[in-house]
Subunit: 174 residues, 2 copies
């Protein structure tokens, strides 16, 4: 069954952590909305790629989505500036909907105040913040709960099958 | 009396948060070492400027310095990857030596595990991490303790007189 997946992202995103999962989602028949500060804007990635936003954070409702992806890079840092982004993510965690997050992505999720007691992983630089937020941080390629997290772009091949498993359908491209 | 000031920094630094204080330090007769991953390397700033490192983190000893400056940008995130950087900063806080930090700089200081009970400020995006580390975060242009912190480049004109006060000599350029 086709799922509707929200991708929350802004400038300085590590592009492959968005494009790789989104391609896999779409190939598996799911629909994806790229959500940013505003709809109809161009997101400037960390490595110079441009990504088109579909919707603005003010236009969306978490109830309309089945899962959330938060890619890494420095986008998660910048997402923390607007509390509406944290409120949006909070609704997924509170509703026990899957949240996929890679690299620096979990840094943004700290702002939900809902990481206490959760097991996850991330890029090494933000692990102290996740621990201070009450999470248990593991140094593993992928850690699976309602939160499905991974450490770096090198782990993408590992996180993809877990995304597939979450939705009960193979959406891994490898 | 001339002081010896360490500046801990790596790529993606917000250049003006390094160059502005460093210029003020030097004009006041203090000496400055730009310390990075390695000595004799070029640091690539967030806005494209190149900054020459004087010393590598493996070559320096905190005992040789009177104060520490940690500029912002995304350099503080990257500094967190190497625990030797946190150990270096820890020595300044433990020794009650002045630590100046601007914007995202305090994010790096979380890794010292020594922010509990301290009052400080920072760029808005990392305040949650400072609170979770036990600090009291104020939304003020400059917050002064052993830690002298500021929020953004716009606050540089305010932090400079505080730096001057810390060393008992006017080193503010404005």
């Amino acid at each position: 069954m086709s799922k509707h997946i929200a991708v929350l992202v802004t400038d300085m995103v590590e592009e492959i952590e968005l494009t790789d999962p989104v391609k896999a989602y779409k190939e598996a028949g799911h629909t994806v909305d790229i959500i940013s500060n505003e709809g109809n804007r161009t997101i400037n990635g960390k490595n110079g790629d441009e990504i088109q936003a579909d919707r603005g954070i003010d236009e969306v409702n978490a109830n309309d989505y089945d899962a959330l992806l938060v890619p890494g890079g420095f986008s998660p840092d910048l997402l923390r500036i607007n509390p509406k982004n944290s409120e949006f993510a909070k609704a997924f965690l509170q509703g026990n909907k899957p949240v996929f997050s890679i690299c620096h992505g979990p840094q943004f999720l700290v702002n939900t105040d809902l990481l206490k007691g959760r097991e996850l992983t991330s890029f090494v630089s933000v692990r102290k913040d996740l621990e201070n937020a009450g999470a248990t941080v593991k140094d593993e390629e992928v850690v699976v709960g309602n939160l499905v997290t991974s450490r770096t772009p090198d782990d993408l091949s590992c996180i993809q099958p877990r995304i597939a498993k979450t939705f009960g359908k193979i959406i891994c491209r490898s």
